[in-house]
Symmetry: C2
Subunit: 207 residues, 2 copies
């Protein structure tokens, strides 16, 4: 009823939500499940130099660019951050995040721990969620199951994970992503987002 | 598996949750519904000087005390805060809140806005939730429906509510308690509590 004198309540603003955590913790699986469940979030599409696979759609799964184009994007400071994954470059374009925030929807970004720390500097009011396993042994088991790492790589990933756990203070929330409890993790992410929308002092994300 | 090397994750601690808001907003109804739904929270029992009604149980619904005993509790600083409601005294005993926190459960306290501000001073890490209506007109309608106020009292309550809305900054979260959407309000409270249990820096309540 527009004629009513509404109380001047804080207005929820779109959030910039970063899903992060050590390699092997299940970031992609969690985001995949969020998409499957049709949650009303805007998932940022990442630019990559890796070749498109037959089932992938350019602009939907990834933005497929040449190494030259990616180099240009780095030079022009067009990426939030970038990482080299198995020899290929990967990074979310700033314009994509800005467009998403402008649409009014909450924006979900998947980043490794270093990338999340970069976001904290670029957009201090971003909401950073750290996914972890309960124990180191569990993380090792998951990495071993992937069978994508050599013994040396595995050692490197574990050492990295240990260091990353020490940087958890840069994050707002931490969720233990239990095996076979994917939906619990997704529910907790939703609860965090709902709670954040009721903050008396909403986060003001600028990028 | 106790033999595993667990990550040193932040441990969730019991929260002290204050449900507050202007008179007429529906605090009691919300808490009543939380109890009906059997949520795993500890609801603090308030001491009162008003006579026990036939259906009430001493120590469960309220702690029924004489005015002399209540005066002694005030003198001995045994109450979190107290208020006079229709000539009777009402206030939650500190020991009850301490016992509840020690049990490890999240503790729910229902307080008026002034009481919530007192808690903020006593226990800065308490979680304060402000319930409100969307508009002033809606609050007036609810107060009128109660038919417990005279025209003058109603004016006083509205003036108080306006002032209270201006003190919303002292609170952590705000929820619009829509008519006929009681369960939505309860769900939001649950989401807030779940989110808070995943904070990297848990609230440390001492009282």
């Amino acid at each position: 009823m527009p004629s009513e004198h509404n109380f001047d309540l804080p207005r929820p603003r779109p959030l910039l939500i970063v899903i992060s955590g050590p390699s092997g913790v299940g970031k992609d699986t969690v985001i995949q499940r969020m998409k499957e469940r049709g949650l009303p979030f805007h998932f940022v599409v990442t630019a990559t130099t890796r070749p498109k696979r037959p089932n992938e759609v350019d602009g939907k799964d990834y933005i497929f660019v040449s190494k030259e184009e990616f180099a240009r994007m780095i030079e022009a400071d067009e990426l939030i951050e970038y990482a080299i994954v198995y020899g290929d470059y990967k990074g979310p374009p700033k314009t994509k995040v800005r467009e998403a925030l402008a649409s009014g929807q909450d924006v979900i970004l998947r980043l490794d721990v270093q990338g999340a720390e970069t976001i904290r500097k670029l957009a201090p009011e971003a909401l950073l969620i750290f996914l972890t396993t309960e124990s180191e042994d569990e993380l090792v088991r998951r990495l071993e199951t992937r069978k994508t790492e050599t013994a040396e790589e595995l050692k490197l990933r574990i050492a990295t994970a240990r260091k990353e756990l020490q940087r958890i203070e840069a994050f707002d929330y931490v969720i233990v992503n239990h095996d076979f409890h994917l939906d619990e993790t997704v529910d907790t992410i939703r609860a965090i987002i709902e709670a954040e929308h009721h903050r008396v002092k909403p986060r003001q994300v600028t990028l």
